[in-house]
Symmetry: C2
Subunit: 243 residues, 2 copies
């Protein structure tokens, strides 16, 4: 059962884990590694592919294979109200938002409970930590009956800064649907992750006290650096136990 690529992947994994190859360093070229392990290049590449899926190695075309920096774990906190203290602390996050006016179609009509072609505002949020992107979100808000009671500047963009202040009236219902899947090629490109790295996809629908849907957020988080936490009672202690 120990296929060659497995053996090679395990060996490289260990070299990375033990620090013999440090974060940010370049691996020897694929040709060198192939001859070192006395395998052909396709075999070696399939070993690297495994490390790539695990987020240990990043391939850069024309440059080489690089050991990824260890990732600070991101915690998404469900319930729509509070933010994990840990994440809030090192929120050296740059969040870029692109606002567009669109029309409801497909899933969105069902999610937002609006008629097809209803006017919506789309917020396309992309949050970076340092130079690497770490999450993306598409947030849709009904545009038609503009209610003045909902603050609307940096929107509920994945909750990073806007949730820090508790100046928002609590919503009647927040419903979050979570799934695991592989990223689309767009998402992989935007998040700069391997297309074989699983992502956590969260669809958050928030309704106000009248039952009207106030926002629908489609969040995509890289699986190797994001957790989502949902608790019936919010505890302030309890630090994340790493996996």
């Amino acid at each position: 059962m120990p296929s060659r690529r497995h053996v090679i992947a395990d060996d490289l994994r260990e070299q990375i884990a033990t620090g013999r190859i440090k974060a940010g360093e370049r691996l020897p070229s694929e040709a060198q590694l192939a001859s070192h392990y006395t395998v052909s290049t396709p075999t070696l590449r399939s070993a690297l592919a495994a490390l790539q899926c695990e987020g240990l190695v990043e391939k850069i075309h024309g440059k080489g294979n690089f050991v990824c920096h260890p990732l600070r774990r991101i915690t998404y906190v469900g319930g729509g109200h509070m933010l994990d203290a840990q994440t809030a602390a090192d929120a050296a996050l740059r969040v870029s938002v692109r606002t567009t006016k669109v029309r409801a179609r497909g899933h969105l009509t069902a999610l937002l409970r609006v008629a097809a072609n209803s006017p919506l505002t789309e917020f396309l949020c992309l949050s970076h930590e340092g130079k690497s992107p770490h999450s993306m979100a598409r947030i849709y808000v009904p545009r038609d009956p503009v209610p003045a009671d909902v603050p609307r500047e940096p929107p509920w963009c994945e909750g990073v800064e806007s949730r820090l202040a508790d100046l928002r009236p609590p919503l009647a219902e927040v419903r979050e649907t979570v799934s695991a899947r592989l990223p689309t090629s767009e998402e992989a490109a935007t998040l700069r992750i391997s297309s074989a790295l699983a992502v956590l996809a969260i669809t958050r629908v928030a309704a106000d006290t009248t039952g009207r849907v106030v926002e629908a957020a489609l969040l995509v988080l890289p699986g190797n650096r994001a957790n989502a936490v949902f608790a019936t009672h919010h505890t302030t202690e309890e630090k994340g136990t790493e996996g």
Copy 2:
């Protein structure tokens, strides 16, 4: 940049989607497909690998590649109390449970807030729907101070049947941590999924009113057939909108 494998994958995907190849049917052999598309076998196989990741095709060694049956979407409902009506309805689920006595170690001590080597009971749950497994769970319960007030037969095994009855006293806190990742080789084998198919991993920790942790459940659900839903207010209406 349409690579050959992409073109082939798209073509096969469409043939499956349009029903030209029906669910359960066997695809032509890889050699036949390779010659049909005039590519080499490795190239063709990489195209099939993509379909495999998406859960469209299942490879069976020595038999062939088969189109998977469309999957009924499983919904895991968070909060630890109720069960989705949809899932409950077609819960033609056989749940097999293996019970073992183990000792707390590693993460478990932190999760359960017990000392290392504390005695635990491990429930290894595997739920099947028809012939294909659809989720697995490892559930740990402290064994030391046996409290008689907690029912313990078919345990909180992924919540399928035992949650239907509301005879259990509500827990003080249920905390669920969700992540997306690729399955371990064990999990892939147990769930009979491709090792490249993302899984939804849910760690559920339930504590009673005294703050004592009553159970820690490690659930693994195949990403292509499972969603998890968390809502602040449980709505009984609202059917799942398919992705």
